[in-house]
């Protein structure tokens, strides 16, 4: 019958179930029994202690009482990979569990598992040209490693050398710098041709502590995302309006709630009522302390018929590193509320929802990630006195010796949810205000004469 149908597919499925920890699966009782016994067996193997009698037997017998004989013959049934109608039925009958997902999906999972069982590692694939190429590349890598060794030894020698011998301290420093750059280059070159590195990077499994993955990520960022960011910076005139110059070196991903926001995108006011979440990927090693500042540069001033700036948010002393990229501002706010220590708080000016009066042109809100000099903490208590209205980013950056490493920007305009947002933000008096363009009176009519033609 179908109960005795050994196939590689099923074995691989079994392996899969055994490997998953018992706590993950919370199915029926009999299911749990199978899992528990399996994991117990595995533990025994790993411990390799000659325990007299494993505890499962009693449970096993108990379970046997529950499950009839003919049902036990059905073998292992996994809700993730069952892909035949009969097997599905049996799963539902015996385990009381519905199969997961579509049958199509389960079949694919099955096949993948079957393929993985007898899969050769990518770099071991027996293709002659490929293997020859790998051999050549490995040889080259060895040469590069040797060159790195030689170069580091030279650097050490030079560092010990008297500056008078090497032609002055500045010349020595310059030489050291160029030698170190060369070593960095060699480190990248040693790994850049490795197909496994490329594969891992493409899979997103690259370790950002390693220079090669940082280099690859940087290249990828510069080839697409940074170009777009640069374009937005120039299109939305961030550069003269907020800061005199911007050279983003870190990748900043902005998002509100679940929605990711591309640079320059219009954000619904209901979304931007909550603090954004930031993902800042730096490509330089080491931990940094950064400040996050959100500024609006398009607040209309009716009396002067002009615009001014408004600071919506300041947070300081946020640690980031190549591996620690997330800045969850909402969570930071919650932690701030919990901490007793005032100096440990990070948010200086809490989030104020961006708003726009009806009829006003769109507001540009720039999010700056500012690196603090030498990773020194700023005094958040002092920052709390910063005035929101008419806030000047240039002065702020200048005063605290900050460096803008990352930037993102979003836009806001009047939308359906804006009235509610403004009410909640305490701007009820502005809800019903509507701005209109000044009408430019046409010049008085003048009859066209011969001369004008």
């Amino acid at each position: 019958m179908a109960s005795v149908k050994p196939s590689g597919r099923h074995f691989s499925a079994c392996f899969k179930c055994i490997r998953t920890p018992a706590s993950v699966n919370v199915n029926g009782t009999s299911r749990r029994f199978l899992q528990v016994s399996a994991s117990a067996r595995e533990e025994l193997q790993t411990q390799s202690t000659p325990s007299p009698t494993p505890p499962p037997p009693t449970m096993k017998s108990a379970a046997k009482k529950e499950v009839p004989e003919y049902m036990q013959k059905w073998g292992e049934l996994d809700a993730q990979t069952v892909d035949e109608k009969r097997e599905e039925r049996r799963l539902v009958r015996r385990e009381g569990v519905q199969p997961v997902g579509s049958r199509r999906r389960r079949t694919i999972l099955n096949r993948m598992a079957a393929n993985r069982a007898d899969e050769i590692a990518f770099e071991q694939l027996p293709f002659q040209a490929f293997q020859e190429a790998r051999k050549f590349l490995l040889q080259d890598r060895q040469e590069k490693l040797k060159a790195i060794e030689v170069q580091t030894a030279r650097i050490n020698n030079l560092m010990e050398q008297d500056p008078a011998v090497s032609g002055g301290s500045s010349a020595k420093e310059a030489r050291l710098r160029s030698m170190r750059n060369h070593v960095q280059e060699l480190i990248i070159l040693a790994d850049i041709n490795d197909p496994v590195v490329k594969k891992k990077f493409e899979d997103g499994e690259g370790d950002m502590n390693k220079p090669i993955y940082r280099y690859l990520a940087d290249q990828k960022w510069r080839k697409y995302k940074r170009l777009i960011l640069e374009q937005r910076i120039s299109q939305l005139n961030l550069v003269p309006d907020f800061l005199p110059a911007l050279n983003p070196v870190a990748d900043v991903d902005l998002g509100f709630g679940r929605k990711d926001v591309a640079p320059g995108e219009f954000v619904d006011s209901a979304l931007s009522e909550q603090m954004p979440r930031l993902k800042v990927q730096t490509f330089e090693p080491g931990e940094k302390l950064v400040s996050v500042v959100v500024v609006d540069a398009d607040v209309p001033v009716l009396s002067k018929d002009s615009f001014t700036t408004h600071c919506h948010f300041i947070a300081s002393n946020i640690p980031i590193s190549p591996t620690q990229t997330s800045i969850p501002l909402i969570r930071i706010g919650q932690q701030d509320n919990k901490t007793e220590d005032v100096s440990a708080r990070k948010i200086a000016l809490p989030w104020q929802a961006p708003y726009s009066i009806r009829g006003a042109p769109y507001h540009r809100l720039a999010v700056f990630v500012l690196e603090q000099k030498d990773a020194k903490a700023l005094d958040v208590e002092a920052l709390k006195n910063t005035k929101r209205a008419g806030y000047n980013v240039r002065a702020f950056v200048e005063k605290h010796k900050l460096n803008a490493i990352g930037v993102s920007v979003f836009r806001t305009k009047w939308d359906d949810s804006m009235a509610g947002v403004m009410e909640r933000a305490g701007l009820k008096d502005l809800v019903n205000v509507e701005l209109k363009r000044k009408r430019i009176e046409p010049l008085p009519y003048k009859r066209r004469t011969e001369r004008m033609r």
Binding site: E132, R134, N193, K198
Partner: protein, 200 residues
């Protein structure tokens, strides 16, 4: 982007030669099929409703129609080849290794040329400083080099005799002066040849 990727490709179901057979059949015996059997597919390209088409066991599509569709509408260029992921990675690896190999070979050739040039230069220098007895003289005593290899030094003709004869360019460039080795231009610079150039 190659749009042929998205163009539909109808393929004849059986052998393409069936097309020829079918036409022959229709010429010779047009009424082999019993007229009572309804042929829905002959009326137009697709009069079949979607649902009816999805059901199995519906009227089989006429192979002639399939063939006509195929030859009318199949893309002129074939679908672009795409490597699978691992295949592409292997290709990439081989390509990188080949590029690296070429670069190394080029570098080795350059270095070899440089080495040869340097050793020729050293040999010439040695000849220049050689006097009649095969002894080396100092640079001050030797004759000129570079632009004026023919000029004699303090010690006269004995020093660097072989060098001077080696530097003679008579017949080397044929009857054309060496200046013509430079690419001729409409407006040559006023000082096209730097006669004062020396290595050091």
């Amino acid at each position: 982007m190659n749009l042929s990727t998205f163009r539909p490709v109808f393929r004849p179901i059986g052998n393409i030669s069936r097309l020829g057979q079918a036409t022959v059949l229709s010429q010779n015996a047009p009424f082999t099929r019993s007229p009572t059997t309804p042929i829905t597919s002959t009326s137009s390209f697709s009069s079949t409703a979607n649902l009816q088409k999805r059901k199995r066991g519906g009227p089989a599509p006429d192979p002639r129609i399939t063939s006509i569709r195929y030859f009318l509408y199949h893309p002129l260029t074939p679908r672009p080849l795409h490597f699978s992921r691992l295949r592409y990675l292997r290709h990439w690896t081989i390509h990188r290794a080949w590029m690296l190999f070429l670069r190394k070979r080029r570098r080795a050739e350059e270095l070899d040329l440089e080495r040869q040039y340097n050793s020729m230069r050293d040999a010439c220098e040695h000849l220049r400083l050689l006097d009649g007895n095969g002894m080396r003289v100092s640079d001050a005593e030797a004759g000129g080099q570079g632009p004026d290899p023919g000029s004699l030094g303090v010690k006269g003709k004995d020093v660097g005799r072989i060098y001077r004869s080696a530097m003679l360019k008579r017949g080397v460039y044929g009857s054309v002066p060496i200046e013509y080795a430079r690419a001729q231009t409409d407006f040559p610079s006023r000082d096209g040849w730097n006669h004062a150039w020396t290595r050091d």
